[in-house]
């Protein structure tokens, strides 16, 4: 297959280089077949363990199963129109007559499929996605710690509000992403398998095995998994729903981070920039452009993949002991894991190349220097007994705006307010006159948040 004949942007564009190396072992169709084989092997081994077949037969099946390839299975599926029966046939062809009956013995297709799907998505999450998210978290922590004292004007509604630090801004992403990583780990750990047969009542396995539920636990334990609380033909959907939710909401945090960065990179704000490589072209006609394409891409991946939660929620509904209206849709769950890893890789790399421009941070702060004292002044005036400090200050800001006077001067010269200001200790007056000090606990909170997440996620 020519890569550029592919139809999915994931395959022809995003799933390359390191991303490919990280995901192919879990999320490719080859991996899907490999994980089904792992499930068949665990079954065979347990059959031997429980003396249902001999150890030799189990070994024979294991050896045969490991030789089966995805394309071989697809070939057989074309003939018989059933993918797991195709896999079983491929294994059976490779074993002796006496081993043949024990291939897939007592299992229904979905014992294999549900278990293999859960396991490969668990592995992809734990072995590929989470480590990458932790690298992103490390990057964010390092920026937050480095910039914990770097003055920045805080913004609400896109308007200048009160001063904070760039580290404090970043600590917000640290805390939120940290929380999401924790959720993802919990949900991945909680994915379940099943070996309860065609309708979940252990009909087939109970024919020959005394404690069919114990047998199920034994098979799954070999794969590092536990059975669902009440499977039918399939494991209850909610274990997967929870993981997809955790991943989708982590993409939301990444998208928020990216959105903030691209806005801070606007020509007029310019507090951050992504370093450009010497050969890099910004625009095909405007040679001077420095576009935040990586941040835009992270947001865009979220726009594509977040709505797929609707599909995930729809797949919760399966009629009676199951219908197969998730045959196509549930296959795309793997894409959600992949997209989260792609977004994390992009964002990590963009953040690592982030230049924080202290000059511009200062310039933007200065734009609002005069007006920032409005809040602390109102609080202090109230503290010293002014009965309507908010309104008094609000009117002073309107006056300052109209007359061009400095707000702090306008306030301090105001007849009514004067008496209150005179009660304030010097330190408070100083704060009003030097609003760059009015950053509250920004630096300290940044430190604490970073310390907490370094410890919780073992980021050294």
């Amino acid at each position: 297959m020519d890569k550029y004949d592919a139809i999915s942007p994931l395959d022809y564009r995003y799933y390359t280089g390191e991303v490919f190396e990280k995901l192919q072992p879990y999320l490719s169709e080859n991996a899907a077949v490999n994980y089904q084989i792992k499930a068949e092997i665990a079954l065979a081994k347990t059959l031997a363990e429980k003396k249902i077949c001999s150890a030799k037969i189990a070994e024979e099946i294991e050896a045969a199963a490991k030789k089966v390839t995805a394309s071989e299975v697809y070939e057989e599926e074309k003939r018989i129109k059933h993918n797991i029966r195709a896999l079983v046939n491929c294994i059976r062809k490779k074993v002796s007559e006496s081993a043949k009956p024990y291939v897939h013995f007592t299992a229904t297709s979905n014992d294999i499929i549900s278990t293999a799907e859960a396991l490969r998505i668990k592995d992809a999450t734990e072995k590929a996605l989470v480590p990458e998210l932790i690298e992103l978290e490390r990057t964010l922590i390092e920026i937050a710690e480095r910039e914990k004292e770097t003055l920045q004007i805080g913004r609400t509604h896109g308007q200048h509000a009160e001063p904070i630090t760039f580290g404090f801004t970043t600590a917000s992403y640290v805390a939120r992403l940290g929380g999401r990583i924790t959720k993802i780990k919990e949900a991945a750990e909680n994915l379940r398998g099943k070996f309860s047969g065609a309708v979940g009542a252990y009909n087939a396995s109970s024919l020959l095995i005394k404690d069919a539920r114990e047998f199920e636990r034994a098979v799954l334990e070999k794969l590092g998994m536990k059975p669902g609380s009440h499977s039918t033909q399939i494991v209850e959907a909610e274990y997967m729903t929870d993981l997809m939710h955790a991943i989708a909401s982590a993409m939301g945090v990444m998208a928020n981070t990216a959105d903030d960065m691209r806005h801070l990179q606007r020509s007029e704000i310019a507090e951050v920039a992504e370093m450009f490589e010497a050969e890099q072209v910004g625009s095909s006609t405007m040679p001077h452009k420095r576009n935040p394409i990586n941040f835009e891409n992270v947001k865009s991946l979220w726009k594509e993949f977040m709505p797929r939660m609707v599909t995930v929620y729809s797949d919760q509904i399966s009629e009676h002991q199951r219908d197969l209206t998730n045959s196509a849709s549930s296959r795309f769950n793997t894409e959600i894991v992949a997209a989260a890893l792609i977004a994390a890789t992009r964002l990590k790399s963009a953040m690592q190349k982030l230049e924080v421009d202290k000059k511009m941070l200062k310039r933007n702060f200065e734009q609002s220097r005069e007006i920032i004292p409005a809040e602390p002044a109102y609080i202090l005036l109230a503290a010293y007994g002014h009965p309507d400090a908010h309104e008094a200050v609000r009117r002073k800001t309107l006056e300052a705006e109209k007359t061009g006077k400095k707000l702090i001067e306008a306030m301090m010269k105001d007849k009514e307010l004067k008496s209150y200001f005179s009660k304030m200790p010097k330190a408070q007056i100083e704060m009003l006159k030097n609003p760059e000090k009015y950053t509250g606990l920004a630096a300290q909170k940044t430190e604490d948040v970073c310390r907490e997440w370094r410890e919780r996620l073992k980021v050294k």
Copy 2:
């Protein structure tokens, strides 16, 4: 306001009687204002506790705040175009000059709003939604236990598969709903408040309070809450996102239950029916119709409210220290809680009126009696050494279909298969001839699942 002038189906149609009684204290706009008042009172009390104002002033503020009504606040908001400042003005009007400065002191609007919203949704969830879900769970458990031995043909792909029991079918909903209730409780318990000021760095409160984070904890503790891990102007969205996810996915389980029931009620299947009241009209032209309108309604509520998760996920993104593009959208979170309660109430009531028709269950089972032995026969043939039992049985089923012969007879008379059958003990042959016994661990699993959830959710 004339109720039938309302525009939202929630208000004019679903939010009546008991539902109204249960939700109004938390989810109405009157409740919203009451919870904001609770937050203002907790603040005043903490100010007194920390000696920032006197105990008397705090009491004065509390007394005044309790008298404020939603319509009063809306009136003031019309004038000044700011809802929390409007509330503050309403309280301030009712207190002495010396108390005035301490109303809302050091707080920003969103300290109040974020905290009050989290608290009322927490209360609505814990005090209204969860109890109703537990009543639904109890109803399901009772049906499962009662019908644990009631034979039912299991169905996959809408096709008869292997036999189970009606109790086992129901136990699936018990387990899944139980799991969702647990998730909902965890997420509600984990909602957070904030008193960290306009950009989250405790700028204002740090002016006057030594340990502003401890102060925040003290205010929130009075409301039974904890602060967010890193708030900006608002609490991080993810606490709410997780709760909405838990609720939406619980609606998914309810919708699945409803879907199954309405299909089991189809004219040709008719295994269940909802008791009709004597006066009830099924159709305006077809007087004989008995339509599963309650189950349809539960599915329909899911169709309306599940997609709103897209909005919830979108509200994760708030630029910088916050934008207000969630001003309308986040208000609708309350509707999701309400819808889940309405769905639970409907489903509970429909399940309580459910008639399980054992005759029809038997009739439907009988339809497939002849073909059910295919699976156990294939398993047993393999167990006794047949190298290709699945294919052998598959061909026999085709033969039986064509010739009209009974499958079990066709198999037992088959020259090749005979020798395997002859090795089987009587009990196994009996099972093949009496497929109603082929229900595996259906009854036992039902019991275990019901016991587990009775204990975990304290359903007596």
Copy 3:
């Protein structure tokens, strides 16, 4: 009902004043019943017209029907659990014995419901929503025309690109909103009714009426409607799906407009501002804030209502001749119409109060004045034969950036480039030196777009 006991933000917050006046006649539950009554009357009149009942009976039914109220119908529904039969009973109570049989005669519930729903949403769209959208369009046209020559720096990726005019920016919304209004009108005009009976095959009406399809057309014609192409119990969903799509995508255009405006209002950009009223409070603690709350609200309404298209698409699926899993969900279609009108009203009012700050527009343009010539220079260099003009200019911009030299000077002094510049006529050199002239057809295109939409939508 106390308005602030309502649970839906639509009812307690957004559906007030003018909005209420405009929507109540179509979208309230009272209106729903009124439109069902209209359908029953149209039926009665047609029965008389076709001599199935007397004209007197039709008149009697009409008079009776007009007296029925929503609360009366809801009361009866409580008793019999069927809303249309309840309506029919209410009418029947008010007519003579001889008229009774002809109330609802040959109709099934959904003949009335489908027809009434389509008609009231058609009316709400045509009589309330479209006029408001046209007022918004007029506002946008007026701004575009007024500012067609007002220089603005164009932006791509949030970065300064090439100059345009503020009118040209606005003309983009004019064209896109104009297109959406056209789509909405077409789709509303195309909503359909039905009088084809319980399963759509005219079973009942064919009993007594010779040409039942002609009869259906006659009933609907009285309501200004046409029948669906192939109804079952319900009209095919797609007519409504198309209208909801048109409305949702119009909200997308409004959200884009709002997003642009709130970003242009950022403290550092400040090209526009929404006039504040004297009493208006921007923030409860930061008295100086001027927040773009109306633009934020328009975006937020889109975030809430756009995802509801998922529900609309889900309601396309109705099993066999219909299931009722749209019983709750389709009721919420009215909210989409309402939300679009609310958004239009907000955006119109915010745009009417918009102040365009030419000084700031100029200042922002000046920031990029030096670099803008990069594009025209590259085009002209190529035109005069430079074989690699893009790369040559790209390198010059890097050089200018590093050395602080002006790009235009750096280019014109460059040995290699000199010869190309010397071939250019003065006018072209002038353009390079005065990039404020480099606005292409911005003004002319603005004029043309405004003229086109004034004509097409008859905006005088």
Copy 4:
């Protein structure tokens, strides 16, 4: 690339054989580059036409462009990080020095990308998707016509309602799919391109071309397209939004058809079946299963792709003259077109193999034979003057249910009703006694609908 290393189910599973042949020329990444080349060639030709370059240069560019491959472009993109500049470089390398300046001359990247994307999606829709949908439509028409008289019990709420014909059922899909095909064609025809430069104001092209808008029209005309009404850096999103809506809603109609068929295939209903191939395996453990996997798959594709409309709607919003937060998301539009074709192919093939079981249709009808007369009886009783016929019949159905009597007999023997029945002509009494005749206009409507769509879509 190993096909089974792909990560997208589209690539490794669904995009094979005929589907691949049909889609690769439009929707692969190779196709994307080919279409960009077409756009560059159209530009070069127009430059020659307008005497901006020589005809020879245009020919040289055309020849060179046709030699460029996707992998070559991707290689160059790796170096310079800009995909269109990479394409331009690849073309430039292959032409003489004098031609070099005219490659991509005056164009911005998105002139090429927007135009090429619109054109290839237009072609994919018109040349691949629509023909396949018409083949599906033909299949449905043939079934409808063939089965127009085949009695079927109509169903609402999953309950037996009034009789129709299987053809009438199918005609519903014919009409709805026909309507969607029409919408798709209109929307595809209406896709637009652009050559208006970096911010849409024709800044660059106006430098050298007198009427830049006429120039744009000339370029696009060569590609069979028209310009957008008001492009910025990109064409207004709504042209594409409308097409995606049309396609998504067509998938909704297909999903509804598939849902109905899989329910009609339920073991207890069994009115239809999909022919199985001799080698086909239904289940890995239940050899007798005949699962409606193709219908399930069509529904599942809808579940996966319908929610992507949320992404499409989100991509309507692009800040100012464009942001690039659609860089990933809009790439997935091609997948929606592909999915619709895959669904159409599946559904067509499943419908072609559909077996309609008249015996089972009859059996299901017979189940409700006794109760069907309720509706016509109520209508006729009313017609002959009974003042409360609906209630009278409703009570009779309850009586019949309880006593086991036949409804028609119970009614005709009823003292009160007798007199009304005695007024009815024989033909009406016959209808009540032979409810299989009570199919209204089912057959005639079927014929009309099929004729209409054969004509409108030229299906011979």
